[in-house]
Amino acid sequence: MKKIYTLLLVVLFASVSAQNVTFEKSNFPDKKEDLKIAKKAIEEGDNYYLTEYQNYNRALELYLQAQEFNPNNDELNFKIGDCYIHSGFKLKSLPYLEKAYKLNPKVSPEILYLLGRANHLNLKLDEAKKFYNKYKQSLDGKDVVERTNKANKGIDECNNGIELMKNPIRVFIDNLGPTVNTKDPEYTPVVTADEDGLYITSRRSNSTGGELDAEGIYFEDVYVSYNFNKKWSAAQNLGEPINTKVHDATMGVSPDGQKLFVYRNEGGNGEIFECDLEGDKWSEPHRMKSPVNSKAHESSASISFDGKKLFFVSQREGGLGDRDIYIATKNVKGKWDDVENIGPTINTPYGDEGAFIMPDGKTLYFSSQGHNSMGGYDIFKTVYANGKWSKPENIGYPVNTPDDDVFFVMAASGKRGYFSSIREGGYGEKDIYMVSFLGPEKLMVLNTEDNLIASQAAPVSEVVAAPVVAITESALTILKGVVTDAITLKPLEAEIDIVDNVRNESIASFKSNSKTGKYLVSLPAGKNYGIAVKANNYLFHSENFDIPLSAGYQEVVKDVALKNIAVGSKIVLKNIFFDVDKSTLKPESTNELERLLKLLTDVPTLKIEIAGHTDSDGSDDHNNKLSQARSEVVVKWLTEKGIPISRLQAKGYGETKPIATNDTKEGKSQNRRTEFEIIAN
């Protein structure tokens, strides 16, 4: 009897669950009050859902209340599914839309498209294609072409997704943890080149002003977290003057972390603001002038390693699509005066967002709804070479998904990136994630053996050798350190000039932080760099980095202690070069000589000794003559530029004053040098 009763219940339930249940008294004769509450919730939800400025999150809350009362209503399930599609929890839309469709396949003309989209987002790509196709077949009346195109785009994205998922990229994706992420939204991370500082946007309750926007969420503020031994510190609100009562969001940070680009929505129009870190204080953000900002909406800004180009996104007129990437170039006066659309290789008829230029100055990451996106915005990579940008390459699944993957930034090493996403196991809403790129799968090597010689029992082994796997990494050197006073050890604000020694061109000029003395410069591979660190009343310090094109990523820490201009102070002129075993100055020496000339001009009381030194190779006599000749050549260059010979003294020390061992190539290289010493002031 019990079994029959259970069976009856199941049959009854199945029959009821398959039927659409309207919110009518006749369907709930014993729950009139609850029905009234549910209908009220739907009515209120509709006020958010059906208005021009839809607030899907608020509508969703109300609809879900009604759903608890009656889960079998076609329209309500449809609305919940639609709200979820427009929320941060898109994947949850599918069961509601499926139910709405099951209850009433004609619940809405858009149900087929939304089912396509919901399946698409849930990576059920074949199923999604079926619904997109059904949607196309169902279309009539107005907007057929536009809606067909929308479905076709969905189908194309599914096909792209199927291809991309065949070869997923190997990554670890890690939530940055509770020191950075909260139950509130965190997004648009930007990171310094060495990953020491991470700036994010968050909408937390401690938002400046503590007010809610029209969507009922706290206004955006900028927060910072620092990396201490691979652990991120608690994100701190940057406070004023960066943050204000309204939206202040991250857009970009310079590789050295000394310049921040902030989004503000002044006059209902998103614009780019920039500010500088002065000591430990951020300057008042100032709105970037035209032609960077325009009457249209600007979002996303990324500055090149030399500070001379700004990649940004704008919806200004004349673009190739919804929003496009532009490049602004700084003129010799330091003004941004030339803005150009980056062009159709990168910009598409769809949205193109989140431009991020790597510190190598040629690798651009951006997000696009076009190209071979697998849905929404996908992250792409393009490289500038030989005067043009390469065809954008989808960086692949699972970093890219059918949802919007945007505002992705990469560390200078090219091995880690940062982005925001809503994922299982997160702390709520959007969180900041770090993606570690593992590169191509590391091949496992097998060993086999065979009895090749019939008359011998001993097997002959063979290694099934896998080819060496190329590891992709940035061709970039990050030079960083702290500039201090050599005696007091106090941090100094110094000017750091980077020169292309071969072309005798200034590449960029930076300043170390006045409070910490910290500096960071990016040196893309393939150049001979002269680095000069200068500060008033100090002797300049020079470094030379000759980085071949084939060099991989490296971080070099070089602390610089600047010496006062005082008798006895001595520095090595690391960017003076001679032909091998000769006293002929190489052209690459010009910048260093000019720095020396400027010092002597600026401080006319200075008298210096130019000292030549050699390594231990060769005879003493030869080395003495060579070093003397070299020092005289430098003195001659300076006298020809107008420095009186009375202020200059040439001295060749040969190999008598080594500063390193002569037993190694590296040591010998250090010993071959030109120095100058202040002998009077």
């Binding site: 496992m444 097998l446 053996e449 065979d450 019939a454 011998q456 097997p459 002959v460 990494e473």
Partner: protein, 352 residues
């Protein structure tokens, strides 16, 4: 002269008997001189060789030689018996005596070559094969073994020439086909190798190693599925052929049948538990099935068996990386690199 020898022999025998008589007077029996006794002992020795009673054979030949010290054939066959007992030095001494007594004795250079080869006196062996082939230009085995020496000397072209001569002299020479296939394989003539291995299996379908080699040539040619069938034939011929299990597992690995590969490597390990290759390979297959912990365990076991097993370090490093053991993976890649594994070096760029 012959009579004189017999006389000397008889005299010596009588003298010995007298001496013996002074010690064991009660056991002396008169021995009747038999003019064919040495030959009879020799024949007995030959019979014992045939029935693999090598100790008895050596005793027979000893006696025959005692009776007839210039009995070259007895030396030659005693050499053979000693060879079979792996007394290669003793065998060579007997062959030397044979040649001394009869420089034209049949096969003696060939046999001495075999003994020298066994003692890794490769050049000595080669010289003997050359002499043998001068005497007998159609000696298939001499060509074959000289081919083996050339193979060992990495003179694969020379080996192929000798194997071809062996086959010309003996068209059903399955070993020669197998080995010529191997020489071709070493020269990357994989198609040629496959044809020769195939012929070898046709001539002798019981040669498990030839099936195995055929499978390996096909695998090298990218025909992993076909290779699996050949390895299976090898295993059918020799059920404890762990090498073929290991190879079949590797072929299954090639086609992405990682579970099947794990089963085969496991079978190889049942037969030979200390088979480091199978442990390393199973580690690789487990990596593919995302059983990274299992992969680390297997690679560790392989390293325990062979502490200088660079590829096992490499593989273990790869699995440790997936287990987020950054230090462990870097340490293993570094070790692999120091052991000469080129693949490991670029991985070290991921290590700080």
């Amino acid at each position: 002269m012959k009579k004189l020898s017999f006389a000397i022999g008889f005299f010596a025998f009588a003298f010995c008997s007298v001496n013996a008589q002074t010690e064991q007077t009660d056991t002396v029996k008169a021995k009747i001189f038999d003019s064919n006794e040495a030959e009879k002992l020799y024949n007995s020795g030959v019979s014992n060789i045939t029935s693999k009673n090598f100790d008895a054979a050596i005793t027979d030949f000893n006696q025959a030689i005692t009776i007839k010290p210039d009995f070259d054939k007895a030396y030659a066959n005693r050499g053979l018996a000693k060879f079979e007992k792996k007394d290669f030095q003793g065998a060579i001494a007997d062959y030397n005596k044979t040649i001394e007594l009869n420089p034209n004795a049949d096969n003696v250079n060939f046999n001495r070559a075999q003994a020298r080869y066994a003692l890794k006196d490769i050049d000595g062996a080669l010289g003997d094969y050359n002499i043998d082939l001068q005497k007998n230009p159609n000696h298939a085995q001499a060509y074959y073994y000289r081919g083996c020496i050339k193979f060992d000397k990495v003179d694969y072209k020379g080996a192929i020439e000798d194997y071809t001569s062996a086959i010309a002299a003996k068209p059903d020479y399955a070993y020669a086909y197998n080995d010529r296939g191997s020489a071709k394989r070493q020269l990357e003539d994989i198609v040629g190798a496959m044809l020769d291995y195939d012929k070898a299996t046709q001539l002798d379908a019981k040669m498990a190693f030839a099936w195995n080699n055929l499978g390996s040539a096909k695998r090298k040619k990218g025909q992993a599925k076909e290779a699996i069938l050949d390895y299976t034939r090898a295993i059918q011929q020799k059920s404890d052929y762990y090498i073929a299990y290991n190879n079949r597992g590797s072929a299954k690995f090639d086609i992405g049948d990682y579970e099947g590969a794990i089963k085969d490597f496991t079978e190889a390990l049942k037969i030979k538990p200390d088979y480091a290759y199978a442990l390393n390979n199973r580690s690789a297959a487990k990596f593919k099935t995302k059983d990274y912990a299992g992969s680390v365990d297997d690679a560790t076991a392989a390293i325990k068996l062979n502490p200088d097993y660079g590829y096992a370090y490499l593989n273990r490093g790869n699995s440790k990386e997936m287990l987020r053991d950054e230090m462990g993976s870097c340490s293993d890649w570094n070790k692999a690199a120091t052991l000469g594994v080129a693949n490991a070096k670029p991985y070290l760029s991921d290590c700080q």
